[in-house]
Symmetry: C4
Subunit: 253 residues, 4 copies
Amino acid sequence: MASTTDSAQATENNDHLIKSTDSKHPANLIPALCRKFWGLGWVSGTGGGASIRENDLVYLAPSGVSKELMEPENIYVLSMSKQEDPKKRVYLRSPLNLKPSQCTPLFMAAFTRRNASCCIHTHSQWAVLITLLLENQPSSNRVFEINNIEQIKGFGKGFQKQGNLGYHDTLRIPVIENTPHEEDLAEYLEEAMDKYPDTYAVLVRRHGVYVWGDTVDKAKAQAESLDYLFQLAVEMHKLGLPWVSSIAQIGPS
Amino acid sequence: MASTTDSAQATENNDHLIKSTDSKHPANLIPALCRKFWGLGWVSGTGGGASIRENDLVYLAPSGVSKELMEPENIYVLSMSKQEDPKKRVYLRSPLNLKPSQCTPLFMAAFTRRNASCCIHTHSQWAVLITLLLENQPSSNRVFEINNIEQIKGFGKGFQKQGNLGYHDTLRIPVIENTPHEEDLAEYLEEAMDKYPDTYAVLVRRHGVYVWGDTVDKAKAQAESLDYLFQLAVEMHKLGLPWVSSIAQIGPS
Amino acid sequence: MASTTDSAQATENNDHLIKSTDSKHPANLIPALCRKFWGLGWVSGTGGGASIRENDLVYLAPSGVSKELMEPENIYVLSMSKQEDPKKRVYLRSPLNLKPSQCTPLFMAAFTRRNASCCIHTHSQWAVLITLLLENQPSSNRVFEINNIEQIKGFGKGFQKQGNLGYHDTLRIPVIENTPHEEDLAEYLEEAMDKYPDTYAVLVRRHGVYVWGDTVDKAKAQAESLDYLFQLAVEMHKLGLPWVSSIAQIGPS
Amino acid sequence: MASTTDSAQATENNDHLIKSTDSKHPANLIPALCRKFWGLGWVSGTGGGASIRENDLVYLAPSGVSKELMEPENIYVLSMSKQEDPKKRVYLRSPLNLKPSQCTPLFMAAFTRRNASCCIHTHSQWAVLITLLLENQPSSNRVFEINNIEQIKGFGKGFQKQGNLGYHDTLRIPVIENTPHEEDLAEYLEEAMDKYPDTYAVLVRRHGVYVWGDTVDKAKAQAESLDYLFQLAVEMHKLGLPWVSSIAQIGPS
């Protein structure tokens, strides 16, 4: 039973923000998603993470915990409108004995610049291998491209556009440089968002991928579709099959 | 507790069709199968799906939902005998806020032309890779062939035939072209069914596979056996081993 | 509630043989093992199976069911001492509407000739690939050999011998021809047991593997260790590494 | 209900040391970790294991059991301060009918020489393949090296050092020779610890890997990160990509 002091701390710490019996509440949903992602090998060894935005509130997984064991009480909450200085982030609710994720500025970029509701960061090996296979491209314009694969339909056409990509459309995911400190990636990520305004994902060289969506369901579906395409593309590479082909080659359909 | 209006809507929407405590009821079985298929990587990112027919009623997974999270209330139901115009499909029961699957005409082809009881559509990467490895064949007659592998016994001999294929029999799965709109595939699928009347599956180029069966159990077993063979065949290709060999090569047995 | 007639049938059918609240009872253990094996990809599409012997009684998985969905009531039971004619097998207890497994004579060979307590049959792709990679050997003496891998210690030294193989010992698993009818394999299996009296497993060309053990735990551990070694050996082959090396090459230890 | 004699035996055997309702108690945590590791393919066929130290007490998984089925009552407990002769280890608590793990002296080395709180031993195939790919190095100085991969940040800088490795740092894991008897590995392991004082892991040729950490969470995270890197490195090798590159090649970041 919590002591009076504990209750007071809990109130001050806004613990009500992460307590809900609704399985769709972000504080319940983030741990459930992370358990699933751990099973997919996306967040091994405390890497990766996920964040959900509901209106002005942003819910964040903490840094350095086993992602499949995360609990609602491990979740950070912040208010988007109350962030005066991005270097000194203010949290409405912080878990005890944990540190905020270094991914926070990258998740925030998806929320502020793309109005996303969810952003997922994975260290999927397929994502890392794709960036390695693209190292022969100039770093100033590295981009993963694939077309004429059905799963491409799993992606939206782009920011504020209706509908999804078609089978013959080329999906383009830019690759940014990795940095020693993850928070310094935000600048590169924002540059890539400016250059590829319709992308829902950015690969990070030798590191992984950030994927977002207009809803939690769309972010999850796009993350799964992308990982599928990365894995397929690595297999295609091993078999000597090109990632991009012309409609003429693909036939009349 | 549902309000009177809700109850009225539920009655009008025939919700009794998808409510059962029997785990073998199609509205319970489709979500259970889809959870399993998601674990196998067959329906990542809302791709793929499954449909079950019981006598005149067809139960269908909806479009665009996370297949491992599907619930009985997400299931569509239609009557096969009440479909006057395939372009304007009439549903006995529709879930709220969802769209019918684009696979519907393809599932219907298996039910009407092959009297199947279940049809499964996967985006399995092994299926896609097989179609890629067969692109050197002329598109007018693309077919996956394999023989002398025990798992081939997992397939029925064909439409209205008794028994299963033997170890030395050659399993043949035709490959059809993919189309920008999934519902347009039905025409190609029906052509392939006419050309290969005994097949229980059709590969779709750069897309996946449709597999059906006389019962739900047989459709599931054939889908699993086929994916096993696709994966094995990709590995055989990597190791330089041919998919088809003569009995003489295989020995006296 | 069962009717009087049902109860009578159950009594006649010796249903008490497969009813136990003990999770270690063979009728509970076989379904639990098969669920696990399905997850490992060993028994996809109703392939493979498992059997346990306790003194004179043999418990068998049936033919043609989804192995991960098997229940105790699906289990066959026979008495080893009451099998006068192996062509006309008599069952003490048979499930309704199912057929006995074609693997039965092979499981029986492990029980009668090796006094095994459990025999596991998988269609693992790694096992099949190993047999394919060995097709350049003469079929009269095909054998998988590997040494100097720690996991080899997972195998017993052989029939009626104490202790396990050592790190430097060479594990030898004979490969027999596959036959169109699985029950015809028994003859080849028995020949292989005579020729390799210490083996706890026999590979079947383009089909899979049979593994047994003095106890259920040992059979399971040997099946897992063997699949590990098959997978490792396929990877070694892809990387150009030999399966067998001399101690001199391996060093002084 | 336990008889008086059973209770007396349990008391004498210090069964209270392995009975706790706290899921974080080592006797509960070791089985939970081992179930997870079995799912990752790290401890197939009774191979591998894990040990946790809390102050003076060491909790150990037994030898030769199915690691995913382990229960708290299978756990050994010993006191670090009461080990006068490492050849004659004294246990405070021993399970019935089981044998202590041959890994014990290796786990003890991590506890006594590195003050670790947890040590994990896996037979991961990726670890074994890495040691095989390094066999062209002289056995006197075999070491796995990788840099410029984000997941390297999952490792601590070293013994009694604060903080973790950086993205550009080179992770170095020494490879020791395997020995016919696992307990004889301890000498090689201790040598490797002396030579690489900052390493948190040691690869064992053709066998697997030992990984430890200052806490259970850190040991687990390091084991997962390392397996991720081993798998990635095997894939990189297959694709002809080097494991170590210069910062100049990697770019300005």
